[in-house]
Amino acid sequence: MELANNIVEINNLTKRYGNKTALNKLNLNIQNGKIIGILGPNGSGKTTLIKILAGILRQTKGEVIIDGYSPGIYTKSIVSYLPDRNFLYNWMNIQDAIDMFKDFYTDFDEGKADELLKFMKLDRDMKVDGLSKGMKEKLNLTLVLSRKARLYILDEPIAGVDPVARDQILDAIINNYEENSTMLITTHLVRDMEKMFDEVAFISEGEIILEGNADKLREEKSMQIDDLYKEIFG
């Protein structure tokens, strides 16, 4: 793996909350142009890792480099982040949210947003506050995918939504993935997502315990990633 090809480099990343260690000297490099799945159960450190990458959480020790820079204003301009919660302001309608993304992210593509809104069956005049959980998730994903970002970070994009919405979300992700961008997706719902990954990394108690090319792992272990996940965490 060549160094210059890594969009993300994480070295000895440690995060402690008081006595609790959420990330423990974690190392991970992510190659440009790949879809990587960060797989682990709740509480394994997935969201902590992602929040540090998104620039809203500070590490205790170690180093994170995204496209050559530590998380900050520049990385926020090239990272499109889908948090595991509704992050839009409650007073907004969808139009406001689109305006805001257009104002702040130069890589925002309104045409793409329109396509996605149609696909998700969302209207610009809907109020954010009145949307169901599944619809909020779809709206958030619409905004995040409408950017032509270098790095997409999706935290549990299909957790807690109904099967129909889940399929729509998966379709939207695969249909809108730009081949020269990189996507980092966390999930514990491996079965639904495993065919989307180039690479997978299993995270447990704040450490990466297994990582590699998804197809290679399938071949080596002669089992699906989902079964491998169950074997590791089951």
Partner: protein, 120 residues
């Protein structure tokens, strides 16, 4: 399409395309759907689809023309061999199953013959 066996996904996509070629859904010289479209249709990572196409190309089943796309080979022999390969595989599995049931080769032929007769 479900990718629920333990083979690598690029192998499964390759298999899916090969079956389309054998069944004639994709004919000699036909253009394959783009990597992007196949990716969308099968909901698989485009990099994985790309790899399947490369594998098929290595097996000389398809060829890529720069800027035009990927096409099914026009070499009939290659397709014939592919077909034969799949047929051999099916027959081999069938024979093994039959043998575990206690049939010998001549019993099997007799049975097959009977069934073909009924179909007519």
């Amino acid at each position: 399409m479900n990718f629920d066996n333990n083979l690598p996904i690029y192998v499964q996509i390759g298999d899916y395309l090969k079956r389309q070629i054998i069944s004639g859904k994709l004919k000699e010289g036909d253009k394959l759907p783009s990597v992007r479209d196949t990716s969308k249709e099968l909901k698989v990572n485009p990099n994985t689809v790309q790899r399947s196409y490369q594998e098929l190309e290595r097996e000389k089943l398809v060829f890529t023309q720069r800027g035009m796309g990927t096409f099914v080979t026009e070499d009939k022999d290659v397709i014939k061999n592919l077909k034969k390969g799949y047929a051999n595989e099916i027959i081999k599995n069938f024979m093994e199953d039959m043998k575990t049931l206690g049939f010998n080769s001549s019993d099997i032929i007799e049975l097959v013959y009977e069934i073909i007769g009924e179909e007519k």
